[in-house]
Each structure stands twice: as structure tokens, then as C-alpha cells.
């Protein structure tokens, strides 16, 4: 059975330590000043005694209906056999059409290769070897979970059954594979 890899992010467990940001830089050798993932602060909002601040991990949302894949003129952006959106940097010419199409600003032109770049769920170097993505492995607060949604025993399946999860910008009909649980922070 085909896999459906998803990431579940529990905002209430994130302390904003940025270990994920750094681990991604280690793993993927992302050029300075560029990021495959970032976790900026949202807030603080409200006034005492209702002040709120949380962190929202931003990266490729691994859409099932990916606008970037649809517009790519060379098929450099594609879904692999496990539904992960990847970029073939050899086929990519750097036209940036995908960047105009992505509603999550997840993509950038890698300064060194000139090709479009983004989060790959660490597919090539880790996930295909049975490991979890670098950000998930390193997460201090246990805010990040990763696994196959088609596996009933996976962490992600259990979390999504238990909690109310959201996807970012559902109005675009992109059907992301990255879910956010805001219980306790919103």
C-alpha cells in the first residue's frame, strides 16, 4: 500500500528553540540567509491577562493538489511515489513560476544551484532510509511528529484522530500533508 507521509505540528509543545531551523541547515546544507523551514513567532497578541504568543513552523506543506507541480514547465517539481513533493534540481531552470504559485512562500531559489529549493521532508537522505526528517528528530519539546497516515499505528494517525487539526490556507484547495494542532495556544 502506498504511503502518505504527513507531519503534525503541535503548537502548544513548541518553545521556539529553533533547533528545527538549525537541524535543517545541517542536514540539507542550505545556503546562508536561506531557509527550508523557519519557525517565526506569532504574536504577542492581546492584553493582560490574555496575552498570547506561539510559534508557527513554516515549510513546504506537501500539498496533494500542489500548485507548484501543476505550473512547473519542465516537470522538475513532482510528486514521488510516496506523495512527497520534490524538486529535481537538474531539470529545474529556475523560472520561479512555482514560487509565484505557492501560497505558503515555501520555495526559494538556492543561491548556489540556481534551482528552486524547499523542504523535502528529508526524503532522500533520511525518510527513504527509515529515519524521520532532521527537524522531527531534533525537536526538543516533541512538537513535531512524522509518519505514514495510512499506518493505523503511526503517531500521526493517532494525533489526528485525537485532536482537531487544521491545514494552512484551506481555501486554496491544496490539501496539504502538514497539519497544525493549535489546542492550548489559540
Amino acid at each position: 500500500m502506498a504511503k502518505q507521509y504527513v507531519m503534525v505540528i503541535q503548537a502548544s509543545k513548541c518553545i521556539g528553540c529553533q533547533a528545527c531551523t538549525v537541524a535543517c541547515k545541517f542536514q540539507n546544507e542550505v545556503p546562508e540567509g536561506q531557509y527550508r523551514t523557519k519557525s517565526p513567532a506569532v504574536g504577542p497578541t492581546g492584553t493582560y491577562p490574555n496575552v498570547k504568543l506561539y510559534f508557527e513552523k513554516e515549510a513546504c506543506q506537501m500539498c496533494k493538489n500542489a500548485p507548484c507541480v501543476a505550473v512547473c514547465p519542465t516537470k522538475a517539481s513532482y510528486h514521488n511515489e510516496d506523495g512527497v513533493v520534490l524538486v529535481d534540481s537538474n531539470k529545474c531552470v529556475g523560472c520561479k513560476y512555482c514560487m509565484t504559485a505557492c501560497p505558503y512562500d515555501a520555495r526559494f531559489i538556492n543561491e548556489e544551484t540556481g534551482a528552486a529549493d524547499k523542504c523535502s521532508f528529508c526524503y532522500e537522505h533520511r525518510v527513504s532510509q527509515g529515519e524521520k526528517p532532521a527537524c522531527v528528530s531534533t525537536c526538543v519539546g516533541g512538537a513535531l511528529s512524522f509518519g505514514d497516515l495510512n499506518d493505523p499505528n503511526s503517531d500521526v494517525k493517532k494525533l489526528l484522530d485525537k485532536y482537531k487539526a487544521e491545514v494552512r490556507k484551506p481555501e486554496f484547495g491544496t490539501h496539504p500533508n502538514v497539519y497544525y494542532i493549535y489546542e492550548g495556544v489559540k
Binding site: 519557525s39 513567532a41 501543476a70 516537470k75 529545474c92 509565484t100 526559494f108
Partner: protein
């Protein structure tokens, strides 16, 4: 909100001024070609200066545009992969072939027009060369009408494509808007086609400014400007107001509306047949307006998506 903890959420513009200028040049090239080719095919008193101006502007504009497009790529030297790897679901991939075909037609047509012009000149200069030049010219000139006709189709395709390129981005509120809300009829291809013909015609008339009678072209220009005003009014009511805000407000109201449409429309109606010296300012403003329109649509769509 400028908290930088975890890196500032940056909203970089993927397509900037180079792409806006390329879309403008592709439009001008398509419009200029159509002006020349349609004159060549259907006009009884074929205005040679108009045909020549349009025929020469088209290849120059499209080739400069394509060069800018290649320079803007993250990997300029791999542009040929656009021809090798094809995705028929991608408007850009289809556009690559439309524009390539148009460029070929534009170059061939310009060559044919230039050859006829050169032959004409030679005939005037030497009587001895007359026969040879005439024979050489007519041999190739049989191609001229088919090239003008097929080239016109590819010019229409190119001008419309620049709109489809943006309207295919389904996640963009300005680019993806439908014509009067009708599902399946995207707005931008219509707007860009009208604007392209208008700007291409204007650029051609600048090149043929000392021509004796341009009344028919000026009338066409007035009609196109009026249609564009109506289209922009429709656009204004179809999308959220934010797209016309901030720095984009000045560009839209001053550049696109006042300089690009209202002023030239008033001046053109005022001096449609009498004032020959109005051609340059009117056409100049129309061309500038066309450029402003591309900048506005490209930037505003990304800034406020």
C-alpha cells in the same frame, strides 16, 4: 509585526521588473506584428511605412524580451531544458513553443519586408539592376502573405499567452480572476490582448510617424483605449481593493489610468485626423501605459496575494 525570532517571514517577490518588462515587450511585439501583417493583408492603400515599422519592431521586441527572460532564470544557461522537458499542464511550457514559433515568423516576415524595401530602393537607383532585383524579390515574396497570416495567429497566441501565464496561477487573487465572474473565462488574457494590440499599434505608429494618413489607425487606437478603460473598470470591481493600495495606487491611477488611457484618449479624440503632431505624445503615452499595466499586475498580484 517584525519579530525576527525564527527568521522574519519574508514575502519576496518571485517575479519582478524584468518579467513585467518581458510581458510588455511580448505584447508590443505581438501588437506590432498584427498591425503590420493585417495592414499588409487587408488594407487597400497599403501604408508601407506602417508595415515596415511593425514588421521591424516585432522581432526586435520579442528577442529582447526573450533575452530578459533567460537572464531572469535562476539557471540562465539551462534555458534549453524548457524545450527538452515538456509539461502540457503548464501554461509556461506551452507558451515556450508559442513564442518560439512567433519569433520565427517575426524574423522571417521582417526579412521579407526588408527585402522588398531593399529591392524597391535598388530599382530606383539603377535601371540595370531592375530585372534581377525584381525577379529575386517576387520569388521570395510569394511567402509574404502566408507568413503574415500564420504569423498573425502566433502573434495573437503570444499576446494572449502573457495573460494566461499569470491567470493560470490559481492561488493568486488578482491574476486568477475570471471575466465578470464567469467560470472558465479568465480575465487577464483578454486585458493583456487588448493592451498588447494597443501598445503594439502605438509603437508602430511612432515608427511610422511621418506617414501621411494614419486616420484609420488612430480610430482603431481610440476604440482599443475605450475597451481597455471598460476592462479595467471590470477588473477594479472584480478583485479586492488591496490590490490597488499602497505604492501600487500611484502606479495604477497615474501610470495606467491617467497617462496610459485617459490623456491619450482625450488627445486622440481631439486631434484624430487634423493634428499630426499629436501622434508622438499620444502613442508614447499609450506605450508607457502598457508598461505600467504589466508592472502593476505583476507586482500587485504578488504583494497582496
Amino acid at each position: 509585526m517584525d519579530i525576527t525570532w525564527g527568521a522574519l517571514a519574508s514575502h519576496e517577490i518571485a517575479w519582478g521588473g524584468i518579467i513585467a518588462f518581458y510581458l510588455f515587450l511580448a505584447g508590443v511585439a505581438g501588437g506590432a506584428f498584427l498591425t503590420a501583417a493585417l495592414t499588409d493583408l487587408f488594407s487597400k492603400n497599403r501604408q508601407l511605412k506602417v508595415i515596415r515599422a511593425g514588421a521591424y519592431i516585432a522581432p526586435v521586441a520579442i528577442i529582447i524580451g526573450l533575452a530578459m527572460l533567460v537572464v531572469d532564470l535562476g539557471k540562465p544557461f539551462s534555458f534549453w531544458k524548457l524545450l527538452l522537458y515538456v509539461n502540457f499542464h503548464s501554461v509556461m511550457s506551452i507558451g515556450v513553443f508559442i513564442i518560439s514559433i512567433f519569433t520565427a515568423f517575426a524574423v522571417v516576415y521582417a526579412y521579407l519586408v526588408w527585402m522588398a524595401a531593399a529591392a524597391e530602393k535598388r530599382i530606383k537607383i539603377t535601371l540595370a539592376g531592375q530585372e534581377m532585383a525584381a525577379a529575386k524579390a517576387t520569388g521570395m515574396q510569394v511567402l509574404r502573405k502566408p507568413v503574415a497570416l500564420l504569423g498573425s495567429l502566433s502573434a495573437l497566441g503570444t499576446a494572449t499567452y502573457t495573460g494566461f501565464l499569470l491567470s493560470a496561477v490559481t492561488t493568486n487573487g488578482l491574476w486568477h480572476v475570471n471575466f465578470l465572474g464567469i467560470e472558465g473565462i479568465p480575465f487577464l488574457p483578454i486585458l493583456f490582448l487588448v493592451s498588447a494590440i494597443s501598445a503594439g499599434l502605438a509603437a508602430t505608429l511612432i515608427g511610422a510617424v511621418d506617414c501621411s494618413d494614419l486616420t484609420a489607425y488612430k480610430k482603431a487606437d481610440i476604440v482599443l483605449l475605450a475597451i481597455e478603460i471598460i476592462l479595467l473598470a471590470i477588473l477594479y470591481t472584480s478583485v479586492k481593493a488591496a490590490f490597488f493600495s499602497g505604492g501600487m495606487a500611484t502606479l495604477f491611477w497615474l501610470g495606467v489610468v491617467v497617462v496610459g488611457l485617459l490623456l491619450p484618449l482625450v488627445l486622440a479624440i481631439y486631434g484624430v485626423s487634423t493634428h499630426k503632431n499629436l501622434v508622438l505624445p499620444v502613442c508614447g503615452m499609450v506605450v508607457i501605459g502598457g508598461l505600467c499595466l504589466r508592472y502593476f499586475v505583476v507586482y500587485s498580484g504578488q504583494l497582496f496575494k
